[in-house]
Subunit: 98 residues, 4 copies
Amino acid sequence: MAVVFVTIAPLGTASSSLSPYVAGVERILRNSGLKHELTAMGSIIEGDLDEILPILREMHEQPFAQGAVRVSTLIKIDDRRDKPGSIEGKIRSVEEKL
Amino acid sequence: MAVVFVTIAPLGTASSSLSPYVAGVERILRNSGLKHELTAMGSIIEGDLDEILPILREMHEQPFAQGAVRVSTLIKIDDRRDKPGSIEGKIRSVEEKL
Amino acid sequence: MAVVFVTIAPLGTASSSLSPYVAGVERILRNSGLKHELTAMGSIIEGDLDEILPILREMHEQPFAQGAVRVSTLIKIDDRRDKPGSIEGKIRSVEEKL
Amino acid sequence: MAVVFVTIAPLGTASSSLSPYVAGVERILRNSGLKHELTAMGSIIEGDLDEILPILREMHEQPFAQGAVRVSTLIKIDDRRDKPGSIEGKIRSVEEKL
């Protein structure tokens, strides 16, 4: 199980407001059935990497479908094989130490 | 006002569990008084960039104080000058379009 | 054509020297036939995104094959559809303006 | 000594060509006297972190001076205290293992 952070932004759109594009991308994620969370700087997804990657590919394509000509995507993968990684587990583990 | 995502990780620690280091970094952020949010993949901070940057510098130093010899820090800044950017505002703006 | 930056690092290796893992990842890239460049902070790859992504997936797996139990991968994609994007073209375009 | 990767991009510019902004940012780096390298995906800087950070702050401001209203900056810091880190040393260390 991996935890993935992703942020997808079109470049060179006339407006500096990107929320219509972020919503388009988020909609794909919601329809995917993957466990995820929307944050102010990107989405965090939890699951099997081989299920997440095809969805990321689809998400990256979405701004083009909404008219963008250039898209910048940032993906950060935290993949742990010694114990199950999860969104909730990672946060709990830090909070216990605070 | 900027919104900043930051994740700080020591490299070459004997254990693959990094939560003691993440907790050390998070403690500095809590003491800073800056508005922020802990996520499974990093912290999100909102505020004046010139107030945030010195705190990021301090956070980056913390794993060394806990014994790390190598630290990898990732910072993503979203800085908007045409209208106030905020953690809450950015999420609300996307959710309205879903 | 997309240009992609990728950096793959194992976490929790006893040693802070990661070059054996970086070399393992780089070897996959060299064998892929994709146009790429090794930098001090990651590799830059140029090509069709659908050819690059399966190679990135393979690269991400490599540190596990070398004994790592946790891997952190950062991918940045710059995908442009209005004109061909290339490593050389992007640098030339900046240097002409300096 | 740290090695830093930085990429600075304005969002919501009417044009998808960002090289005038990248050139503006690169000019600051060249005038800084810091050792650095321009790549297709960002600049790589080597030096004392406390000398690099004020220059990054200045670089982040530059697209606003050129008319941008929103700027997205990505910074990745690799800071090693057990032995000197350098752009050249990092690449050599990988190439020796290939």
